[in-house]
């Protein structure tokens, strides 16, 4: 396996970790808005995170 190959693997693992932890949520939101609603106003990172937190915690999200 070449060094480039290994690096590629590491990058994919890193992307997976960011995705599963929600670290990349804002980037994904921006990409989605650019694709689907390019004319709509874009929330800032701060606004987006505050709004996400409000949404996530208004229902049952944890279990016994």
């Amino acid at each position: 396996m070449s060094a480039g190959h290994a690096l590629n693997h590491l990058r994919r693992i890193w992307e997976f970790v960011r995705r599963i932890s929600g670290d990349d949520a804002y980037e994904r939101y921006r990409a989605h808005q650019a694709l689907r609603h390019p004319d709509a106003p874009l929330m800032t990172r701060r606004e987006f995170c505050a709004d996400e937190e409000r949404r996530k915690w208004s229902g049952v999200s944890r279990c016994c």
Binding site: E15, F16, S21, C49, W57, S61, R62, C63
Partner: protein, 691 residues
């Protein structure tokens, strides 16, 4: 062709290995067995269940259709509705369903021996819990991610929906009560545990500030910061424990700690989520996944011998942890880990909005529950690798075995499980604790078990640190569920109150927020208070009640699933949910019946209340017990009424389901299906998110 042949051979091998492992467990009845037998049997059972039963369920019963567009695709908003790769949905779903339940339940059920718990965890998960989670997940995915209560409302009518809401609210209260009681028992007279758990609060707040003010949304950086802070708190707690003038500041009675927990719960419910609740949740999820993986590795490396007998004499109902025979109480005690109604709330809410293809429900629904069940198996191993005498000494309340160490070891050794005061003293000092007698609730004995596994894998010298790591892990876990449960309970109270007077339903109107939070915290706080003053530990009463309520919720979920299957013309397959439903109805009703009517004071709640009342009237109680007797008497009667209410709700929903099914089978009018019409998916495998 070659691939399918290979699969068949692999499946056959799996079946043979699994059969050998189960036979090994069953035939080694009179000599100690190795934990690897249990691990092997469990893994084979899950894989077989997943490959054969779940595949059949998906293809035939649920008619999973990968060409059908999911709500994540149709309603994609880049936020909660997002088509997501199934590995990531699996991770999110597992993190959401895995709570402290599968850790505590199997530990308590270990009083019957390792065999009843192991069998129920495996059979219950494969034919009950996994089926429930997968079915509800698919049904909700086909209904735009609607919640369980909404589905009950849409498919059965408004009354069924209200019953589901009230049932869920009551479970929240009992759940929070029992979890807070476990936390108090963990921290009682343990300055190391108390200071570490207290330090996790400012740690969480710092992480919250970091995520809100300094680096919004940088979850990974914040988690790293939080984990470092928590580890510092853990080691710092150990240092503090050796400072005589400092350790007294964190040495508290149960009642004082209960006060702390109640105030904490109230604050967590009314403070903004970003400050405490959300950051604690990040930390708890990280710790949870990390510890579960670590524990699995450590068990395989150390492959400890199980010292608990396969079956103990306590199957006759005389057990010291809680009263009641193995049937029905093992099925009530181990709720999460075999089947948990609570999962249906997660499977109908957040998760279906992420599913990118219906084909993923097998991995996400069935697979996550199988993994959760495996966590329960590991907890059972950690409990049963202890010397049985030690296990019973840690988990039996002073009211059962005697208040002094000498009395306790005498009673327990008399049962045929030898243990000495010195052995317990050495163990406590190795774990860095004053005493391990009567540390009820399951968490301390689980921590001792985990510490001995971790200790023999990663270094024996650090036993005390490992013990407190396990304690801290459990506490963070318990507190995270307590926070979330209190908050969700608050929303439910507001939903109910809002029907009576609209302003009370506004979730951002502060008078209503304070009032409904006080109601919910007062509810569980009351049970916590009574549990703390109860000389038998309180968990012996509360945990069975929690089990009954959780199984009731599972029965509601299975009723909804059965009703929908029948309504959609799948009556001949309805047994897949009807059989677990019937079993749950039988065990829950039997357990509730015995809790209400049994003349045995260790089981019957009314009998225990009457017995205590008679002793109080006759003046035969010691002064300390007489002082708390009136509260205990009232509480036992209240618990009996609650058990009756749970059973009533259970049968109400079952009969409502039967009514709908009968009408549907006879061709009479029933509420129309709320399934979203078919639309072809335009996603293909290549664009389904990373990676």
């Amino acid at each position: 062709m070659g691939g399918s042949m290979l699969k068949k051979v692999a499946g056959g091998l799996l079946a043979i290995v699994g059969a050998f492992a189960i036979a090994g467990i069953a035939l080694h009845r009179h000599e100690p067995i190795n934990a690897l037998w249990i691990i092997t049997a469990a893994v084979c059972v899950y894989l077989l269940g997943y490959r054969i039963y779940a595949a059949w369920l998906a293809a035939r019963v649920l008619a999973v259709d990968p060409t059908r567009a999911t709500p994540a695709e149709r309603l994609n908003n880049g936020r909660d509705f997002v088509p997501t790769h199934r590995a990531i949905v699996f991770g999110h779903h597992f993190a959401a369903i895995a709570g402290p339940g599968p850790l505590v339940g199997p530990t308590l059920a270990a009083q019957f021996g390792y065999l009843p718990g192991t069998l129920w965890i495996l059979v219950g998960a494969v034919f009950g819990g996994c089926v429930q989670d997968m079915t509800i997940l698919l049904l909700s995915t086909r209904r735009d991610g609607r919640s369980l209560g909404q589905m009950a409302h849409d498919e059965f009518g408004p009354v069924g929906g209200l019953a589901a809401l009230i049932g869920t609210l009551l479970i929240m209260i009992i759940l929070c009560a029992v979890l807070s009681l476990v936390i108090v028992n963990v921290m009682k007279h343990s300055p190391w545990a108390t200071s570490t758990v207290l330090a996790t609060i400012p740690a969480a707040i710092l992480v919250g500030l970091y995520l809100r003010l300094w680096r919004p949304g940088r979850v990974l950086e914040a988690t790293l910061l939080g984990v470092i802070l928590i580890m510092v708190a853990l080691v710092g707690g150990g240092w503090l424990d050796h400072q005589p003038q400092l350790r007294v500041l964190f040495d508290y009675e149960g009642l004082t700690l209960a006060g702390f927990v109640i105030v904490y719960g109230f604050l967590a419910a009314i403070l903004p989520v970003w400050l405490l609740l959300a950051p604690r949740d990040y930390l708890s999820t990280f710790l949870k996944l990390g510890t579960v993986i670590l524990l699995a590795i450590a068990i395989v490396i150390t492959h400890p011998t199980i010292k608990m007998p396969a079956i103990t004499p306590f199957v006759d109902g005389t057990g010291p942890l809680f009263g009641g025979k193995v049937f029905p109480f093992v099925f009530i005690t181990i709720a999460c880990g075999a089947i948990s109604g609570f999962h249906a709330l997660i499977a109908s809410g957040t998760t279906p909005k992420l599913i990118s293809s219906e084909a993923d429900v097998r991995l996400v629904g069935y697979g996550s529950m199988a993994l959760e069940s495996f966590v329960a198996i590991m907890a059972l191993i950690a409990a049963t690798l202890l010397d049985p005498g030690v296990f019973f000494a840690i988990n039996s309340g002073a009211g059962i075995v005697g208040a002094t160490p000498e009395a306790a070891v005498h009673t327990i050794s008399g049962w045929g499980f030898p243990v000495t005061v010195e052995q317990m003293r050495n163990l406590a000092s190795a774990m860095g604790e004053q005493t391990l007698f009567a540390r009820t609730g399951g968490a301390p004995s689980l921590a001792v078990g985990m510490a001995s596994i971790f200790g023999s894998t990663f270094g024996k010298g650090l036993l005390a640190l490992w013990y407190h790591f396990a304690i801290m892990f459990e506490a963070v876990f318990l507190l995270a569920t307590l926070d979330a449960g209190t908050r969700v309970g608050r929303f439910m109270v507001q939903d109910l109150l809002g029907r009576a007077w609209e302003p009370l339903g506004r979730t951002s109107w502060y008078p209503s927020v304070l009032f409904s939070s006080a109601l919910i915290v007062g509810g569980w706080g009351y049970f916590l208070y009574v549990g703390v003053i109860d000389p038998n530990g309180g968990v012996n009463i509360l945990w069975p009640l929690f089990g009954i309520s959780n199984q009731m919720l599972a029965a509601i979920a299975l009723s909804i699933a059965t009703g929908i299957l029948v309504k959609s013309g799948k009556a001949r397959y309805a047994w897949v949910t009807l059989v677990p439903l019937a079993w749950l109805a039988v065990v829950t009703t039997t357990a509730a019946w015995q809790k209400i009517t049994s003349p045995d004071v260790h089981i019957g709640l009314f009998a225990a209340a009457d017995d205590l009342a008679a002793k109080l009237a006759a003046g035969t109680l010691p002064a300390a017990r007489a002082a708390v007797a009136p509260q205990l008497i009232f509480n036992q009667r209240l618990d009996a009424w609650l058990a009756m209410l749970f059973t009533a709700i259970l049968w109400f929903v079952i009969l409502d389901m039967a009514r709908i099914c009968l009408r549907s089978l006879r061709g009479e009018r029933v509420p129309a299906s709320s399934e979203t019409p078919y639309r072809e998916s335009r996603l293909n495998a290549a664009v389904q998110g990373a990676p």
